[in-house]
């Protein structure tokens, strides 16, 4: 059994919760404000390590974009990183690969998602990043997607 504890307002907790919800891993909610994941006795207080360790094979990411997600989380209002992300996603759309690591979502997409959705709070408008906004819509329509305060769901599948 997996137990997830932590504040509902924490991006780190949200990252871990998104993986569990999207990958369909059953878990229970624990007590406490700090991030703590107990997965069959293995304990994590770091969302990134938990993403790598707990993601099923079809949710794994290639190293480049997982590392990118960690850089984005460390610099959540970086115009250069948002530009890099939008360009990558735009050319991915053209090639029929709408996710960061190709044709399926991965922990790289989950890793980037909270910072992208919270960018306006960090003073960064998403208006200049259309491919990024379409990617965020796709992620919000995945089965199992769950919200955190400030992030809404979208109705239905297309």
């Amino acid at each position: 059994m997996i137990t997830l504890s932590g504040s509902p307002l924490s991006r780190e907790v949200y990252r871990a919760r998104l993986l569990l919800d999207l990958a369909g891993l059953p878990y229970e909610k624990g007590e406490g404000r700090d991030l703590r994941i107990d997965a069959h006795g293995e304990v994590f207080d770091d969302a990134w390590r938990a993403l790598s360790r707990l993601a099923p094979p079809d949710w794994q990411a290639d190293g480049r974009w997982f590392a990118f997600a960690r850089r984005l989380a460390a610099s959540p209002a970086s115009v250069a990183l948002f530009r890099e992300l939008d360009e990558h996603l735009w050319f991915g759309e053209q090639a029929g690969e709408p996710w960061l690591c190709g044709d399926r979502p991965s922990i790289a997409d989950i890793g980037c998602f909270p910072e992208v959705m919270m960018s306006e709070q960090a003073g960064l408008s998403r208006l200049p990043y259309p491919a990024l906004r379409r990617w965020a819509d796709r992620l919000r329509r995945l089965p199992g997607f769950t919200v955190m305060p400030g992030i809404y769901t979208l109705p239905g599948s297309i």
Partner: protein, 195 residues
Amino acid sequence: MTSWFPVARADDLAPRHVFHTALHGRELALWRDDTGVANVWENRCPHRGVRLSMGANLGNELRCQYHGWRFSSGSGHCTAIPAHPGFTPSQGLKVTTYPCVERHGLVWTTLGDAPEDIPALPEADWQVLRAMFVAAPSSAVASHLSERPDVVLFLQPVDDTQSIVHGLSSDPSISLRSHNDMLTRLRDQIEGTAP
């Protein structure tokens, strides 16, 4: 200001997506309904002024995220107010809509009532480039654009400090990637960050 400007690539308006842009400081919400008709609307719910780009494209209506008011494709008329289920909204209750024409693979609009003056192009198999956002006013961007027979560039003045460069190319031997590299260098040069 009353002229026609491109405000999106036609395929920016993905199914069930609400596209967010601006023209001359006016924020716009663009969306395509399920029959393929594109809408260019002011990005503002007439109820409380909330951005419609935060809402949901339901296929033939756009729903505001705040109180769930729904607005019809085409007219922009309010069709439903969830807090008043039996109430039929008056015809005057509507989103501000703008003219919308799709041409050359781009979506064009005007904030005024000018006659449509979208440039005609010579017959060719035009490919639409990735639009390039530049953090500079359109006057500064315009002075950097040079003529090329195989590439046509159009400027979208977003507001006083930001612009978007839309482009078309008639030479299929040059990839979208190399056009994007060219526009990226142009952007960096204009923004003054070129090495």
